[in-house]
């Protein structure tokens, strides 16, 4: 029991870093959870950010902006060139449009050689092309309606109405992809769990394993198995505590709790936590100095998160990254979330859960074997 109690006493030393990592994870979860639309099984256009500088301020330019605004986000503030570059670089906006003075007049006069709208975008980005295609479609259609004898306001209304008609688009997928907040929020949980475990539980186990303390406990009357099981029990309890806190906070943030898919996600979280604890046990066998915990925390948590599709969706990663990712539990955690998103049940995610556990077991066994080998070498 004394080992168990001491574990928590030593752990209290790390409360500051636990609070810190929890705060960071929550900040990321909160910000990222604000960025997704609610579930939609039908077609919708992908919105882009567009910065517009309207030097014309004519009926036509306002009509164009109003049309673009029906699909995209328009930023019309007075931005500096640097701010504009920042926004395009960080993909907040895909295009910077400058509508020249006299654009509306030239458009209405139909000279056949219209003034052009300057569109600055990152070279070759699809998002940039999409906005340009939307502009051209609207302006061409409006111009042609006007050629057909309609006034600008009539043509503008007809174009907008007809361009908004999405009836020609059919979604042929049988599965309905849900895109609710709960998925975004829970996708990030492995990062939070890994950082919390690596920054708090790992250094505590490492402290128990430092040479002098380990020797001292080794010669005590406490059987080694008992000591190890006390450590494991304490680690498990701390982890359960962390899971509960994270699940409750995430559920509150996503506004969903005790639904069928919530239960599936919770199972995924629990299985991942078990895997994470096994990783921690493996790491502790490598005789790392507890002082190195912050560096290890970041190396493990960041690499697992980036390669496992926690921060950047897996489909965006390069081929090698995807290939490596498949060997990480975070990948299979995200994959399980994806399957739940597509309406998958426990049977569909069972393989993902199994691979996570298998990874954990494998790493733990390697760690323990290494630890035993080291011990023999030392003897």
């Amino acid at each position: 029991m004394i080992v168990f109690k001491t574990f928590f006493k030593v752990l209290s030393r790390y409360k500051f870093s636990m609070i810190m990592y929890l705060a960071i994870a929550l900040a990321i979860i909160t910000i990222m959870s604000g960025f997704n639309s609610s579930g939609n099984a039908s077609y919708y256009s992908v919105s882009q950010g567009i910065i517009v500088l309207d030097n014309d301020k004519s009926e036509v330019s306002r009509g164009l902006i109003a049309y673009l605004e029906t699909i995209n986000y328009i930023y019309e503030d007075d931005y500096t060139e640097e701010q504009i570059t920042d926004m395009i670089y960080y993909t907040k906006a895909s295009n910077y449009l400058i509508i020249p003075e006299g654009f509306g007049e030239a458009f209405l006069s139909d000279s056949g050689n219209p003034l052009k709208i300057e569109s600055t975008k990152e070279v070759d980005t699809r998002m940039g092309y999409t906005v340009e295609a939307e502009m051209d479609s609207y302006l061409k259609l409006t111009a042609n309606y006007m050629k057909g004898g309609y006034s600008f306001s009539e043509a503008d209304e007809l174009s907008r109405e007809s361009l908004a008609d999405m009836s020609a688009v059919n979604m042929v997928s049988e599965v309905v992809i849900q895109d609710d907040k709960i998925f975004t929020v829970f996708t990030i949980l492995p990062y939070a769990l890994l950082t919390l475990l690596c920054s708090a539980v790992l250094p505590v186990i490492l402290r128990f394993g430092t040479m002098l303390i380990s020797r001292r406990t080794g010669i005590s009357s406490l059987p080694s198995v008992k000591k190890q099981s006390m450590l494991a029990l304490a680690s498990a309890l701390v982890t359960i505590g962390m899971i509960c806190v994270l699940i409750i906070i995430s559920s509150l943030l996503s506004g969903e709790m005790l639904t069928a898919r919530w239960a599936l996600i919770a199972i995924d979280v629990i299985v991942f936590s078990m895997t994470a604890v096994m990783i921690i046990i493996a790491l502790s066998s490598f005789g790392i100095n507890p002082e190195a915990a912050p560096a290890i925390t970041n190396i493990v948590a960041l690499s697992f998160s980036f390669l496992g599709g926690i921060f950047v969706p897996i489909e965006h990663l390069g081929g090698t990254a995807k290939a490596i990712g498949q060997f990480l539990p975070t990948y299979w955690y995200s994959e399980a979330i994806e399957r739940i998103k597509s309406g998958g049940g426990l049977n569909d995610i069972a393989i993902c859960l199994g691979i996570q556990l298998l990874f954990g077991l494998m790493v733990m066994v390697i760690g323990m074997l290494y630890g035993r080998y080291n011990l023999r070498k030392a003897e």
Binding site: S17, R126, S137, Y145, G148, V172
Partner: protein, 382 residues
């Protein structure tokens, strides 16, 4: 005397192998993983022709011809938008469902209109939708004009067939426009800030109430300032070496393109190392906390700073720039990553010098702050 202190402080820093190992391995390991993870993402953002299957559900030759001419003629900035395969519906559907080998199926209907079958929403689908809707609306329009203003029909048909563009495409300036490179900027920022662990001990090692060697140093005839400055220089030299080695590995082995003049990138890293050391120095002199607590504070500042400057979620920096811009000015990680970014996107110029000023300014404030905090000469208790 000062040189001897500096020399020994340098030895102390260099012999702290564990610290050096981790601060060096950190950018190398994560840099390698980032290279693997982000290597292909930006390429996938770049425009490539949208693979489209076209299926004719009609035998009307005029309709087929019109649709073919329209779909094959669509271009932007001289580049064709669609990569078309003419297929039977079953073949097209198989390709669509087999990992989206085509992004969508455009079906040409009997009434001359087009429909689009897609599997999922996305930018490519939006482009296809825009094309299909545009075409259909032209058909609708022609029908409408034919009914309401038949005298104008010729002009309208002429207008539709004209390939007028209202857009003058321009591209953004800068060297490497890959937004994912900013993850490397943040990684370098984190490396320099973690390297500040070297300077964290200076404060404790010169205060009599915080360490045994501090007490001995205070009993000696050497001024506190000399220990502080020698420690600062030694930590800076070690941090500089660690950061520049990490940077060299990233540039020459991992082939990360930071963008901008390479010498200036190294210089920026040197300033970043200075900022990191100043931060560690400041926290090290902050009150009479134990080294552990100070380490916690430093790790907290580093991680929170890097999270806010976009290490985990790339767009965080721009969000902060909008919601609370002052945070980006005082957050050391944001200041460091912004200076690499400025060098890349704007070159050596006003924006870059502004970030340099921030780095130097923050370093000065933190160093002077550290010196002021650490100037206490005697203690109420030891």
């Amino acid at each position: 005397m000062f040189l001897n202190i500096l020399c020994k402080k340098l030895k102390i820093c260099v012999n702290n192998k564990q610290n050096i190992f981790w601060t060096l391995m950190f950018p190398i390991i994560l840099g390698t993983l980032f290279t693997i993870a982000f290597g292909g993402i930006f390429e996938s953002y770049k425009f490539e022709q949208v693979k489209t299957a076209v299926v004719f559900d009609t035998d009307n030759e005029q309709v087929v011809e019109n649709a073919k001419t329209f779909l094959e003629g669509i271009s932007n900035d001289g580049k064709k938008l669609l990569d078309i395969q003419y297929l039977e519906y079953d073949e097209a559907e198989a390709l669509l469902k087999d990992g989206e080998k085509v992004n969508g199926i455009i079906r040409v209907k009997e009434d001359g209109k087009l429909t689009l079958d897609i599997l999922s929403n996305g930018v490519l689908s939006t482009i296809q939708q825009s094309i299909v809707t545009g075409y259909n609306q032209n058909v609708t329009m022609i029908e409408k004009v034919a009914k309401e203003h038949p005298e104008k029909l010729y002009e309208v048909i002429k207008g539709v067939s004209e390939n007028t563009s209202y857009v003058l495409p321009k591209s953004l300036g800068g060297d490497n426009k890959d937004p994912f490179i900013s993850y490397f900027y943040n990684l370098l920022a984190m490396t320099t800030l973690f390297a500040s662990m070297h300077s964290l001990r200076i404060g404790n090692n010169t205060q009599a109430n915080m360490s045994k060697v501090g007490a001995r140093a205070n009993a000696s005839p050497v001024r506190r300032m000399s220990f502080q400055i020698a420690g600062f220089i030694a930590s800076f030299l070690v941090s500089l070496a660690v950061v520049e080695i990490g940077l060299t590995v990233m540039i020459f082995i991992l082939r990360v393109e930071f963008g901008g003049n390479i010498l200036m990138i190294y210089l920026t890293s040197a300033l970043a190392a200075l900022l990191g050391v100043s931060l560690g120095f400041f926290v090290g002199n902050l009150g009479s906390f134990s080294l552990d607590k100070k380490e916690g504070i430093l790790v907290g500042i580093t991680l929170l700073g890097c999270a806010l400057s976009g290490l985990m979620y790339g767009d965080m920096k721009i969000i902060i720039a909008e919601k609370a811009p002052f945070i980006n000015k005082i957050n050391p990680a944001a200041v460091i990553s912004d200076s690499y970014y400025a060098l890349n996107m704007f070159g050596v110029g006003g924006r870059f010098f502004e970030t340099v000023m921030y780095m130097v300014g923050l370093s000065l404030i933190l160093t002077i702050g550290g010196l002021l905090l650490g100037r206490k000469v005697s203690y109420d208790s030891i």
